[in-house]
Symmetry: C2
Subunit: 439 residues, 2 copies
């Protein structure tokens, strides 16, 4: 038994949260998007939340965790969807949001503390003509450290691929949970050891990332009578090297019905595309829309209306809005490798699996990634749906598991396991999440 | 017979060049890269060069050409390689280099007169944080109008594709040679009518193009023991969405021997890559080089040396430098659709066809385009070489013809022919170059 009274004393001036309700809240994420995870994770909570403001404090916390063998679970803003930051065995919740300093931005590179909000970093980068290469739809509150630990890509991935792609994360500073905790820096490819590792192998304290040149972007809504026409439009737009975009988000009817706030722009019965386009590419965009018989229903250039934040209706915000209307909905994450796979699933499942696509680059090629909305009936049926996708060559990154390897990559990452053996020899970090370690 | 005395009088104050030697010089381009064209075009020359400084003057010249039925051939800096701007039937040479005003640059779009030098436009765009999306290796003197009329892509095409790709040319103003010449503006897709049409269908006077955000770029030389390793490196670099580049130029040994000025950086026996990389991507570049067992021999970050202008050793400057050493060399232009095709040609032809590749995007995918150096023996053998490539699935854009359709696209562009019927009903423009018109 851990004596938290002693722990709290040893933490000294480090900010602590002890109220049960607050701890409960800070132990959760958006796991409830999944009825499977909902059942498994609803009662999980930490014992104590600590909020360090400096690397020294993190190091001190690490030492205390090792000394008392306390499980430790790291969180940013808790905007993940797979229980990445939910503690399975109680212990300390390390809330990183107070470690949010921007150390410097220069020559298109930013060095920041891990808890910085992506929206704040974006604002500072903008002042120098830069922006983040990719952001999740939750970027207003999400932290950069949380994105690297638990995310994979987002708005901008149509240009820069995913976080795992070489060059998108330059350096990461990590506090270890060794017998004598210390600070180490991972450079370049070494950062793969902690990339999307759910904080199972080191506490990320500092990050150096390359930025993207900032365009003046505008959001457009385009509607289509025929869904597959919208999909083809999305692919061609993604492949159009002369049209600068940041977001190509395609939604099969009836998904648009879930976007109540956008109702004036979404005619009944039509599928839609949400796009973010550079202001020097409006002309060719209009021609492409025409070619695919789409109709632009929201054009920020033409109207006096307040610009819409379309980003917040895409990626997993789509799931969020849909579930607000129908809590029985859940979702999938899918790599479709061609449009034929999309069409086949569309025809096969009908409205049981409503197709939502986000185009992104994988190895230099734009593909449609699915974040389909699924009408949930049972775990058995959900698994049948997943199997049918996989049998047809689409890869599912299962969002209904909190086990690292059972989600996206489907396999043990030997370098992440090896790194965990070094930096977390007692297995204190995010217990139960890395299958390779458990075994 | 055209009475040029009357013509000259009617031209009034418009600048004219009448010295035979100067006219001869201003009637040529780099056609002599091809021994085939060399034979066919060596004696071709215009009768009079005119250098308008305004649209009004162009319109006046057009009227005179129509009135006297004078053949007219438009040129920028004459940096093409296929005789694009060489007059087959004499007549007026319209030198556009004095029409070089930059009208405006704003929001990542530039509006300029057609005769502006690309290097001057680049310098002005840089002041606002922008640069040209793509430039030829001749950009220091080449004009934007000449590039659009006779070029196709270049440094930057690895990001933005080619000029023909939707979105890379926004608007073009054209003076017609109708019975009553007039000025018309082509917008968006309409610009395809004059894109790479060798000035056969309208005099381009003004151009509106979108720009690219300017990075701080640096040029690197990387050498490889094995050519195919260099090629694979080039493909992976091109496909690495997280590494920002502008030029991926690969040269099989012994091509590096022709680059005398770069000798210190090019060890005997090695193939090389010339790269232009954004300064926030040096770190991942180094890791990629290591993965492919390359060696960086020129790194502007490490050395005190004056920066090299590697651009001027790539694209058709490669051909230029090689021919300076061995005038018996000529070249090909090839779309390889995969690395297997490259390897097959490499093994089959050996040093007879030395492989030089420039990676560029075609429809969203990076491919290696060949500008191979060929040891010329006979036209028959050259055609055999071309046929062998085509039989193996590589597409040759034949640089040994001045006929528009026999070069890159291999087919009549109906919209270009239709447009010519409208704007040049008397067939005065660049006579003999558009096969569809000739027939």
């Amino acid at each position: 038994m851990i004596n938290y009274k002693i722990v709290q004393e040893e933490l000294g001036n480090i900010k602590q949260i002890t109220e049960e309700e607050k701890i409960k809240k800070l132990s959760q994420d958006y796991y409830y998007f999944s009825p499977i995870l909902s059942e498994k994770l609803a009662d999980k909570t930490g014992d104590l939340v600590v909020q360090p403001t400096s690397e020294d404090e993190v190091l001190h916390i690490a030492k205390i965790c090792v000394k008392h063998q306390i499980p430790i679970t790291i969180r940013g803003a808790g905007t993940g969807n797979y229980g990445q930051c939910i503690p399975l065995n109680g212990g300390i919740i390390l809330d990183m949001t107070e470690m949010n300093k921007i150390q410097w931005i220069k020559s298109g590179i930013a060095r920041v503390e891990a808890g910085v909000k992506m929206s704040i970093l974006e604002r500072e980068a903008n002042k120098q003509g830069w922006e983040l290469r990719m952001i999740p739809s939750t970027y207003k509150i999400a932290t950069l450290g949380g994105f690297i630990g638990g995310g994979s890509g987002g708005i901008g991935s149509i240009n820069y691929g995913q976080l795992r792609d070489r060059g998108n994360v330059h350096k990461v500073k990590v506090v270890t949970l060794e017998k004598e905790p210390r600070i180490i820096e991972l450079i370049g490819d070494e950062t793969q050891q902690i990339n999307h590792a759910y904080g199972t192998n080191g506490i990320i304290t500092e990050i150096e990332i390359p930025l993207a040149p900032a365009y003046n972007w505008s959001d457009f809504i385009v509607v289509f009578d025929d869904f597959m026409n919208a999909v083809k439009f999305g692919q061609v737009l993604s492949d159009s090297d002369g049209i600068i975009k940041k977001l190509v988000s395609i939604h099969a009817y009836p998904i648009p019905n879930y976007f109540l706030a956008l109702k004036p722009y979404l005619p009944q019965g039509k599928s839609c595309a949400f796009l973010t386009i550079a202001d020097n590419s409006f002309l060719p965009l209009q021609e492409l829309v025409k070619e695919f018989r789409g109709e632009i229903t929201y054009n920020p250039q033409d109207k006096q209306e307040k610009p819409l934040q379309l980003i917040e209706f895409t990626w997993n915000h789509t799931t969020f809005h849909a579930r607000n209307i129908d809590p029985n909905l859940t979702y999938l994450q899918t790599f479709f490798w061609n449009l034929e796979q999309v069409e086949k699933m569309y025809k096969h499942f009908g409205d049981e699996v409503m197709i939502h696509l986000e185009f992104l680059r994988v190895g230099g090629k734009a593909i449609p990634a699915g974040l389909q909305l699924v009408k949930f009936t049972s775990e058995k049926r959900l698994n049948e749906i997943i199997k049918y996708h996989e049998d047809n060559g689409a890869n599912i990154a299962n969002p209904h598991t909190y086990i690292l390897e059972d989600g996206g990559r489907k396999k043990v990452e030997p370098e992440q396991l090896k790194f965990k053996r070094m930096v977390d020899p007692f297995g204190l970090m995010n217990q139960g999440k890395m299958r390779a370690w458990n075994q």
